[in-house]
């Protein structure tokens, strides 16, 4: 499971002047085996939080741990699968080589990689394109390759940043099915999105973040039990935070 304790991150724009508080005193816990949705408007701090979990960004304060290990330890990522928002890959690698890299770097054997590659590429429907250079892939294909890469080493925890972006309805269904499959396997899934229907459909719990601060954390069914829609709750939080200025 994922434990975030008192994370803050401030960015400086340009040379010295403007300071932007991307995340402020965020505390959150994701339980083992649950699907947690991270909801917020653009620029709310979702990506920043996720990148802190992957140790791409260092927080000014606070600590994070995944499965009991501090995220600053590289071993943590052996069992974490990460899909960035708008993934970019080397132009001249093929999907096959990409997955080989992901597997080997995570310590898998060549045989295991081969099997897993076949499995995953079929699942994300990239078998036909597996030997083509990634630069020839469409946006949707790139996204799907990224998913395969995130899951090649069969991680315990999957962290996805806007996994549905750039996908057509077929692709979105595929991602949804994948998330449910992971849940069925007892894996933990943490993903960020600003698409309300996705959160409603897949998540056990949701956290709403606006302006760098976590506003609401609750079970989805609890939130919706009173008859209100997620949209209402979301817009209310944005209003409370000061007007819904988006980036």
């Amino acid at each position: 499971m994922i434990r975030i304790e008192g994370i803050s991150k401030e960015f400086k724009e340009g040379i010295g002047s403007k300071r932007v508080k991307a995340v402020e005193d965020l505390t959150l816990e994701v339980h083992k085996g649950e699907v947690f949705g991270f909801l917020g408007p653009n620029g709310a701090g979702k990506s920043t939080t996720i990148k802190i979990l992957i140790n791409l960004i260092y927080p000014d304060n606070g600590t994070c741990s995944i499965n009991g290990k501090d995220v600053r330890d590289r071993e943590t990522r052996r069992h974490v699968g990460y899909l960035p928002e708008n993934p970019f890959f080397y132009d001249y690698l093929t999907a096959e080589e990409l997955l080989w890299f992901g597997g080997k770097a995570s310590g898998m054997s060549s045989a295991a990689i081969k099997e897993r590659t076949d499995q995953l590429l079929t699942k994300v429907n990239l078998q036909a394109a597996r030997k083509r250079h990634l630069r020839t892939y469409s946006k949707g294909m790139v996204q799907r390759a990224g998913l395969a890469l995130a899951l090649v080493h069969d991680p315990e925890v999957a962290i996805f940043d806007e996994p549905m972006s750039g996908l057509d309805p077929i692709g979105r269904k595929m991602v949804g099915d994948l998330i449910m499959e992971l849940k069925g396997q007892g894996k933990t899934v943490f993903f960020s999105s600003h698409i309300l229907s996705d959160i409603e459909r897949f998540c056990d719990r949701v956290g709403i973040i606006v302006g760098g601060k976590l506003r609401v954390v609750d079970r989805v069914d609890s939130l919706l039990s009173g008859g209100t829609t997620l949209e209402d709750i979301f817009l209310e939080e944005v209003e409370k935070a000061g007007g819904g200025a988006t980036v």
């Binding site: 960015f11 991307a22 920043t48 990148k51 992957i54 140790n55 791409l56 960004i57 260092y58 590289r74 071993e75 943590t76 990522r77 052996r78 974490v80 699968g81 990460y82 960035p84 708008n86 993934p87 970019f88 890959f89 080397y90 132009d91 001249y92 690698l93 080589e97 990409l98 080989w100 890299f101 992901g102 080997k104 770097a105 995570s106 310590g107 250079h133 990224g146 890469l149 995130a150």
Partner: protein, 270 residues
């Protein structure tokens, strides 16, 4: 098994499939033709001139490889965020830099081997045409010269990694690496010049002399890897020179990469 090897492999594959490598090979072909042309104009020492041209060409092309393909490999990771796919694995920042550098070393060695074949072919053609005009010629010396050039390019590439570890854009890394190359090759001559400036009739302040002498230890001395003249004339090089030059190269490279990985640890990727 550390993740160094997979990082090195994908770095190498990405580099070797880069279109620029084809461009460099095309250039090499042109240089071969130039070699034949110019050798025609020389009266006596055709051997020395054809070796000069062949070795200078591959030095230059190797330089282009390091400056444009090499820096691009690291820059792409940083600019285009392809680094996410690597750092999301269980790999530390330091391991990332070392793995990438190993991939770069592999790329340099393989490309230089290909260029070496072009050079050998061009010298061979000229030698067949003007066999009487190759008074002092040695294939081993030529291979030694190319190996030394390869080592100096590896050193330069390490420096480009150092610059990339803190520079904000790839353009800055490029400029710094070019500066390092120029300083590296002119260092010995500049040092000789300021230490005996009267021969050219210019005045040099003692402060400048001291500055240059200190700089000599900080900046890389790339000119010790330039044995093209010795190769062109088959002049003997003692084993001790080879030993110390190679040691210097390896030690300096390790120091630079270590510093680069230390700096890189501080880097964030928002």
């Amino acid at each position: 098994m550390t993740p160094l090897w997979p990082v090195a492999v994908i770095t190498f594959k990405e580099g070797i499939r880069n279109r620029a490598v084809y461009g460099i090979s095309l250039f090499a072909l042109m240089m071969m033709a130039v070699n034949l042309l110019i050798s025609d104009m020389i009266m006596q020492e055709v051997g020395k001139v054809s070796v000069d041209i062949a070795l200078s060409s591959i030095s230059f092309l190797g330089l282009l490889l390091v400056l444009f393909v090499g820096i691009n490999l690291l820059a792409k990771d940083l600019d285009k965020r392809t680094i996410y796919m690597v750092l999301a694995r269980p790999i530390s920042r330091g391991e990332y830099i070392i793995g990438k550098f190993l991939g770069m070393v592999l790329l340099i060695v393989v490309t230089m081997s290909i260029l070496c074949m072009f050079a050998v072919a061009s010298i061979f053609l000229v030698k067949m045409r003007y066999s009487g005009y190759f008074p002092r010629f040695s294939w081993p010396m030529i291979f030694l010269s190319i190996s030394f050039t390869t080592l100096s390019l590896i050193l330069l590439s390490a420096l480009s990694f150092l610059f990339a570890s803190f520079a904000s854009t790839s353009f800055i890394s490029l400029i710094l690496t070019i500066a390092a190359y120029i300083i590296g090759h002119s260092m010995t001559d500049v040092k000789a010049l300021v230490e005996a400036s009267q021969s050219v009739g210019i005045q040099v302040a003692p402060f400048t002399v001291k500055l240059v002498q200190i700089a000599y230890y900080i900046f890389p001395n790339l000119s010790i890897f330039d044995i093209k003249t010795q190769a062109a004339h088959d002049l003997a090089i003692p084993m001790s020179y080879i030993f110390w030059a190679v040691s210097y190269g390896l030690v300096y490279t390790c120091i630079v990469i270590t510093i680069a990985s230390l700096i890189f640890r501080k880097r964030e990727f928002p």
